[in-house]
C-alpha cells in the first residue's frame, strides 16, 4: 500500500491540529491523494475544504516565511528566464524579487524538497517567500504573455516561412495556376472537345488512382495489427509508476463550459499517476463563462488553467502554441473538451515511444464516437471515422506514407515539438499539417490502438461547418507542402508523395469533383442525350463506367468493413446510404474551397454539446465526481 510523502503527512497533521480541516476530511483527502496519485494539499484545495489563501498563509507562518500574493506584488520580469519556464511550472518555484541585495524565491510548495531544489538552483544565499500555486502559475504566464503570444502566432512563420500557411498561395503557385488556367482556356477555345476529353481523362485517372490507393491502404493496414496491439498491452503491464515520465495534457476549449465535467472525469480516470500529469486547460482570456465554470468545478487543484491573451488568428493551434510553452512534460497530448480517452492510453503511448526509434516524434491514437447510435449522421460519421482511424491510418503507417494527424489524441515528444515550432496557427487543420511537416523533417508518426471517444456531430449544418474547415485545412496543407515538390520527393520518397497526393489531395478533390460527375451522369440517365458522346470516347467511357461502378462499390464496401473490428456491425446497413453523406461532403468541400479564397484563416467553430448523449455524459460525470 502506497503512503503519503513525509511532507504531505506533516502538512495534513499540521492543518488538522490548527483546526483548519477536520480529521474526517484529512482521512478522506489522504485516501483520495493516494488514489489520484496527487499531493494532499491539491486534494484539499480541489475539494475546497481549505481556502487557498488560508492554506498558504498558514504554511508560510509555520515555516516563518513571508506570504505574498503575486497578483498584488508580481515578480520582477528581469529575473525570470524564458528557457526556465518549464522548471518554474514543474517545481512551482520561481525568482520573485531582489530585496536588500538578496534574491527572494517564491514557492507554492514549501517543504524540504523545495528547499533542496532552490539551493541547488540558486545557491544557499537566497530568501524564500510563500505564494499560492495559481498565483505563481498566473504570474509566470503574465511575464511571458506578450512574448509567448507573439511566438504562438508568428514563430513558425518567421523561422520556417516555407512551412507556414500564412501565405496561402505563393507567387510561384499563383503563376503556375494562372498559366494552367490560361492554357486550358486557350485549348478550350481552339480544340474544345479534345480539351474536355483530356480533362475528363485526367479526372477519371485521378478517381481510379484514388480508390485503388485507398483499397491498398486498407489491405496494408489490416495486416498484423493485432500482433502489435498485443505487444504493447503486455509491455504496459510491465511498466512501473516510478519509471513513467511527466505527461502534459493540453485541453484547448472555447465557450464549452457544459462539457467540462466529462473531461475532468475522463482525465481523472486515466491510468497514470496524477502527480506525473501536467494538465492544462487552455482558455481564451475573454472566455469568462468557461473560465468561471472551470473554477466552479474546483479543477484548479489538479488542473492548471492557461489563459490565452487575445490576438488574431483566434485558432486552436495558436492557443496550443501559447500553452505548450508552459508545459513541463516529456510528452504532450491534446484532448478536446468532450473527449473520453481510454484509461490506459498514456501508458500505451509511453510504451510505444520506448519501443520506437528516436525518429518517432508523435503517436496518434484512434478517435471514435460515444453517441454513434444517436441518428443517421452520427452513424455515418462513426463509419467514416472507423474507416479513417482503424483502417486507413494503419495503412499509411505500414506503407510509410506521411500521416495527417487527427484533431486530438496525438501525443508528441516535447523536444521535437519545440524544434518544429509546434502548430501552424494559420492552418485550420494544424494537426494534419504537423504530421506531414514531421515526416518532411525526418520524423515518423506511429499509431497506437487506444481510442478516445468523442461526441459525433448530430446536426448536418454543424457537420458541414466542421467538415468545410477540415477540407479547407487539407487544401492549406496541400498548398504548403507542394511548394517545393523536389524537396518533398526527396524527404518523403515517391510512395510518400503518391500517398500524400491521394490521401490529402484526393480527399479534398474528390469532394469537389463528385458533383460534376454526378451531374453528368444524372443528365445522361434522365435525358439519354447523345450530346455527351463526344466527351466519352470508348476507352474513357469504360474507364468512367468502371470508376462509377467499381469505385462506388468499393467505397461502400470499405465503409461496411469499418465497424467490423469494433463489432459495431449494426452500423453496416447504413453504408448503403453513403451517397447522401458524400453529397454533404461535397457541399463542405465547395464551402471550404470558397473560404480558402475569401477567409483562409477563419476557424469555422464546431458546436459541441448538442448531443443528447453528451447531456447524459455530463450528468454522469457530475454524479461520479460527487461520489468520488
Amino acid at each position: 500500500m502506497a503512503e503519503l510523502t513525509a511532507s504531505d503527512s506533516w502538512t495534513g497533521d499540521f492543518l488538522a491540529e490548527q483546526g483548519l480541516i477536520t480529521l474526517a476530511q484529512l482521512n478522506e483527502a489522504s485516501s483520495l491523494a493516494l488514489r489520484w496519485g496527487t499531493s494532499l494539499p491539491d486534494v484539499l484545495l480541489a475539494r475546497a475544504w481549505i481556502d487557498a489563501d488560508t492554506y498558504y498563509a498558514t504554511l508560510a507562518a509555520r515555516f516563518g516565511m513571508e506570504y505574498v500574493q503575486l497578483t498584488d506584488v508580481p515578480p520582477d520580469p528581469a529575473l525570470l528566464r524564458e528557457d526556465e519556464v518549464a522548471d518554474y511550472m514543474r517545481e512551482l518555484t520561481a525568482p520573485w524579487r531582489v530585496l536588500d541585495g538578496r534574491l527572494h524565491i517564491a514557492t507554492a510548495r514549501p517543504g524540504p524538497e523545495a528547499i533542496v531544489y532552490i539551493r541547488e538552483h540558486w545557491g544557499p544565499d537566497v530568501a524564500l517567500v510563500v505564494t499560492t500555486k495559481p498565483d505563481l502559475q498566473r504570474a509566470v504566464q503574465d511575464v511571458f504573455s506578450e512574448r509567448f503570444s507573439h511566438a504562438a502566432v508568428f514563430d513558425l512563420a518567421e523561422r520556417d516561412p516555407v512551412m507556414s500557411a500564412q501565405t496561402v498561395f505563393t507567387p510561384r503557385q499563383l503563376i503556375a495556376g494562372w498559366a494552367a488556367l490560361t492554357v486550358t482556356a486557350l485549348a478550350l477555345a481552339v480544340r474544345p472537345v479534345a480539351t474536355l476529353i483530356v480533362l475528363n481523362l485526367l479526372m477519371s485517372l485521378f478517381y481510379l488512382g484514388n480508390f485503388l490507393f485507398k483499397a491498398v491502404l486498407i489491405w496494408a493496414g489490416g495486416s498484423q495489427q493485432h500482433v502489435r496491439a498485443r505487444e504493447i498491452e503486455s509491455a504496459v503491464r510491465m511498466l512501473r509508476d516510478e519509471d513513467l515520465p511527466i505527461y502534459t495534457v493540453l485541453v484547448p476549449m472555447f465557450r464549452e463550459p457544459d462539457v467540462l465535467p466529462i473531461l475532468a472525469n475522463a482525465l481523472r480516470k486515466l491510468d497514470y499517476p496524477t502527480s506525473k500529469l501536467d494538465i492544462k486547460i487552455v482558455l481564451e482570456e475573454g472566455d469568462h463563462e468557461t473560465i468561471d465554470a472551470a473554477v466552479r468545478l474546483g479543477l484548479e487543484g489538479i488542473f492548471e488553467i492557461i489563459r490565452v491573451p487575445p490576438s488574431q488568428p483566434q485558432t486552436k493551434p495558436k492557443a496550443c502554441n501559447y500553452a505548450f510553452r508552459f508545459a513541463r512534460g516529456d510528452y504532450l497530448v491534446i484532448f478536446d473538451a468532450e473527449d473520453k480517452p481510454e484509461p490506459d492510453q498514456l501508458k500505451k503511448v509511453v510504451v510505444a515511444f520506448n519501443q520506437a526509434p528516436d525518429s518517432v516524434a508523435c503517436v496518434q491514437c484512434r478517435l471514435n464516437y460515444y453517441n454513434r447510435d444517436e441518428n443517421w449522421l452520427t452513424r455515418m460519421f462513426t463509419l467514416d471515422y472507423s474507416l479513417w482511424f482503424d483502417l486507413m491510418l494503419p495503412g499509411l503507417e505500414r506503407l510509410r506514407v506521411p500521416i495527417p494527424l487527427g484533431g486530438t489524441s496525438n501525443h508528441f515528444r516535447m523536444d521535437v515539438l519545440r524544434e518544429l515550432h509546434a502548430w501552424d496557427p494559420f492552418n485550420v487543420t494544424e494537426d494534419a499539417d504537423l504530421g506531414i511537416r514531421m515526416t518532411q523533417k525526418g520524423y515518423e508518426v506511429r499509431l497506437v490502438e487506444s481510442t478516445t471517444f468523442e461526441e459525433a456531430n448530430v446536426s448536418q449544418t454543424n457537420w458541414v461547418r466542421q467538415r468545410s474547415r477540415w477540407i479547407k485545412g487539407y487544401m492549406q496543407t496541400f498548398l504548403v507542402h507542394i511548394r517545393r515538390p523536389v524537396h518533398l520527393m526527396r524527404t518523403i520518397g515517391p510512395l510518400g508523395v503518391l500517398g500524400f497526393t491521394f490521401f490529402i489531395g484526393g480527399t479534398m478533390l474528390s469532394g469537389l469533383l463528385n458533383p460534376i460527375f454526378w451531374g453528368i451522369f444524372a443528365l445522361w440517365a434522365v435525358t439519354q442525350t447523345a450530346a455527351l458522346d463526344n466527351l466519352f470516347p470508348p476507352i474513357l467511357l469504360y474507364l468512367a463506367l468502371f470508376n462509377l461502378l467499381a469505385g462506388n462499390g468499393l467505397f461502400m464496401f470499405l465503409m461496411m468493413l469499418a465497424p467490423f473490428r469494433r463489432n459495431w456491425l449494426q452500423l453496416t446497413p447504413f453504408s448503403l446510404t453513403v451517397i447522401w453523406y458524400w453529397a454533404l461532403m461535397s457541399i463542405a468541400a465547395w464551402k471550404g474551397a470558397w473560404q480558402l479564397v475569401s477567409k483562409p484563416f477563419y476557424w469555422e467553430k464546431t458546436n459541441h454539446g448538442l448531443s443528447k448523449h453528451t447531456a447524459h455524459e455530463v450528468a454522469l460525470a457530475v454524479q461520479e465526481q460527487q461520489a468520488a
Binding site: I218, W219, G222, S223, Q225, H226, L391, P538, Y542, L545, L549, A550, G553, M556, F557, M560, L561, F564, R565, N567, L569, Q570, L571, T572, P573
Partner: protein
C-alpha cells in the same frame, strides 16, 4: 521475407518453364481445349472489330476474356498462344503464392518445395491449366476464399473479409461454374463468420461478406442493360465451350443417371483430391473456428457439385475435382501446430497427388480423354471436328457472311477473323435490310440443332435446308452448312 526473395522467383521460374514446356508439348500433339479455342475465337473477333465493344463488355465471364484480350493486344505476336500463356502466368502466380505462403508460415525449405511440387504437379491442376485461364482463375478464387475462411473466425481481421468477398467476386467472374459455386457457398459462409458478430448482427455480418458479389452482379447487369438492352443479355453469349463443358455436340448424350453418377463421382473425388481436408477435420477437434472452416469448405464444394449436377452444368470430373487442389493448399497452410518439417502435411499432399493420378483414368469425358492422350504423347483430334473442318474450309476465303459469335471455335480454327462479315458488320446489317447478300460464302446453323438458329439463319430462315440461288453447298454437317457463290463464267 528475405528467405523468399531468392526462392520465390526461382520457384516461379521453374514452375513457369515446366508448365510452358508441358503445354507446348501438348499443343504439338494437337491439344487445345474447347474453352481455350472458344476464348481465342472471340478474341480474334474482338481484335478485328467484328464484335462491337458493347458485346465485349457484356461478355461473360469477363475476367478470362478481358485478360486474353489485353494480352493479345499488348503482344500480338503471341497469336493463338495468348489464352494458354495467360493460363500459365496465372498458374505460375498461384504456385509461387503457395510457396511464399508456406515459407512465411514457417515451413522449412524442403517441406515448402515438396508441398508446392505436389500441388502444382497434381494432374488436376495441370488439367485446369490446360483448360484455360478461366479455370485457373477459379483455383485462385478458391485459394483466396479458403484462406479468408480459415482465418475469419479466428482473427477478426478485415483482410479476411476482403479475401472472402473478393474471392467470391473472382469466382463468379471467372467461369460460369463460379455462379454455381457462389450460389452453393452462401449457407456455408455462416459457419465461418465470428460467432460474436453472427450472434449480435447476423444480417449485417453476411451482408459485409456478400456485398461485393451482389454489387458486382448488379453492376454487370447494369452494364448489360445499358449496352445490351437487357440485364441478362450476357446469357446469350454463353456457350458450353466457354463453360468448360466440352463441345456442344456431346451435350445431349448424357442421361439423368449418367449425370447423377458423375455428380457422385465428383463429390467422392473431392475427398480423394484433398485427403488433407479430411485429416484436418479430424485433427481440429476442439478448435471450432478451424474445424468449422474445413467443414464449410468441404460442404461448399460438395454442395456446388450437387447443384452443378442438378442444373446439368457439371464440367468433366477432373476439372471439378481439381477445385480440391487449392483447398488442399489452404489446409496445408492453416494446419494447426506442426513442426517446421511438416512431414504429415507433405505426406497428405502426396497422398492427394497419388489419388488424383488414379482419378485421372476414371474420367472418360471427351475433353479429359484428349488431354490424357496428349499428355502421354499421343496425337489428338480437335475438340469439335466438324467446326474445325469448317474453320479449315473457310481459312482462305473472304466475304463470309457468318454469325461468328455463335461459333468462335470456327474462327479459332480458321486462324483469323478478317474476311468474316459477322453480325456487327455493315455488310451483315445491309444484308438484313435488303434481304439478300453479296457474300462469297454463307454459313448457317441448323435451326433444328440444339442451339437453334443463328443470326444468319434468322435472316434467311430456309438457308440451311434450301440454300440460296446462285450458291452451292460446300460444307455440310448436322449443325452447320456453308454455301459458296457460284462464280458466273464469261460465256
Amino acid at each position: 521475407m528475405t528467405r523468399n526473395r531468392i526462392w520465390s522467383p526461382l520457384v516461379a521460374l521453374v514452375a513457369g518453364a515446366a508448365l510452358f514446356a508441358l503445354m507446348l508439348a501438348m499443343r504439338a500433339n494437337g491439344y487445345a481445349s474447347a474453352s481455350g479455342l472458344d476464348l481465342w475465337g472471340r478474341t480474334l473477333l474482338a481484335d478485328d472489330g467484328l464484335i462491337s465493344v458493347a458485346q465485349i463488355v457484356t461478355a461473360y465471364p469477363p475476367l478470362p476474356y478481358g485478360g486474353t484480350l489485353i494480352l493479345a493486344w499488348l503482344f500480338p505476336a503471341l497469336g493463338s498462344a495468348a489464352p494458354m500463356l495467360l493460363a500459365i502466368l496465372l498458374a505460375v502466380g498461384l504456385c509461387t503464392a503457395w510457396f511464399a505462403s508456406f515459407r512465411n508460415s514457417g515451413f522449412g525449405l524442403p517441406a515448402a518445395l515438396l508441398s508446392t511440387l505436389f500441388l502444382s504437379a497434381n494432374p488436376l491442376f495441370l488439367r485446369a491449366v490446360a483448360e484455360g485461364p478461366g479455370f485457373v482463375l477459379l483455383h485462385w478464387g478458391i485459394w483466396l476464399l479458403a484462406l479468408g475462411m480459415f482465418q475469419l473466425g479466428r482473427g477478426h481481421r478485415v483482410n479476411d473479409i476482403i479475401l472472402v468477398a473478393i474471392a467470391l467476386v473472382i469466382i463468379v467472374l471467372s467461369h460460369p461454374l463460379g455462379l454455381v459455386l457462389a450460389f452453393a457457398g452462401l449457407p456455408f459462409l455462416a459457419l465461418v463468420v465470428p460467432a460474436d458478430r453472427l450472434r449480435r448482427t447476423p444480417g449485417a455480418a453476411i451482408m459485409v461478406l456478400m456485398f461485393p458479389l451482389l454489387f458486382t452482379a448488379a453492376s454487370f447487369a447494369y452494364v448489360n442493360w445499358i449496352f445490351g438492352g437487357d440485364p441478362l443479355h450476357f446469357i446469350d453469349t454463353l456457350s458450353r465451350e466457354a463453360a468448360g463443358l466440352g463441345p456442344a455436340r456431346g451435350a445431349a448424350l448424357a442421361t439423368p443417371f449418367d449425370s447423377l453418377l458423375s455428380g457422385c463421382r465428383a463429390a467422392v473425388g473431392l475427398f480423394v483430391a484433398c485427403p488433407i481436408g479430411v485429416a484436418m477435420f479430424a485433427r481440429t477437434a476442439g478448435m471450432p473456428p478451424l474445424r468449422l472452416a474445413v467443414l464449410a469448405l468441404m460442404g461448399w464444394l460438395v454442395a456446388a457439385t450437387a447443384l452443378a449436377t442438378l442444373f446439368g452444368l457439371l464440367p468433366p470430373l477432373m476439372l471439378v475435382v481439381g477445385l480440391g487442389v487449392p483447398f488442399a493448399a489452404a489446409c496445408a497452410l492453416r494446419w494447426p501446430h506442426e513442426r517446421p518439417g511438416r512431414p504429415g502435411i507433405v505426406l497428405l499432399l502426396f497422398a492427394g497427388l497419388v489419388g488424383t493420378t488414379i482419378l485421372t483414368f476414371v474420367d472418360q469425358s471427351s475433353e479429359t480423354t484428349r488431354w490424357r492422350a496428349a499428355a502421354t504423347g499421343q496425337r489428338v483430334q480437335p475438340p469439335d471436328q466438324n467446326l474445325a473442318a469448317l474453320g479449315a474450309l473457310l481459312r482462305n476465303g473472304g466475304a463470309i457472311l457468318f454469325d461468328a459469335e455463335a461459333a468462335p471455335l470456327v474462327v479459332a480454327a480458321r486462324g483469323r477473323a478478317s474476311g468474316i462479315w459477322s453480325a456487327e458488320t455493315p455488310q451483315f446489317q445491309l444484308a438484313g435490310l435488303r434481304g439478300k447478300s453479296d457474300a462469297a460464302i454463307l454459313v448457317v446453323r441448323n435451326r433444328e440443332s440444339r442451339l437453334g438458329s443463328d443470326r444468319v439463319g434468322r435472316l434467311f430462315p430456309d438457308l440451311y435446308e434450301r440454300g440460296r440461288p446462285g450458291y452451292r453447298r460446300i460444307y455440310d454437317s448436322d449443325r452447320w452448312r456453308a454455301y459458296a457463290r457460284v462464280e458466273k463464267t464469261g460465256s
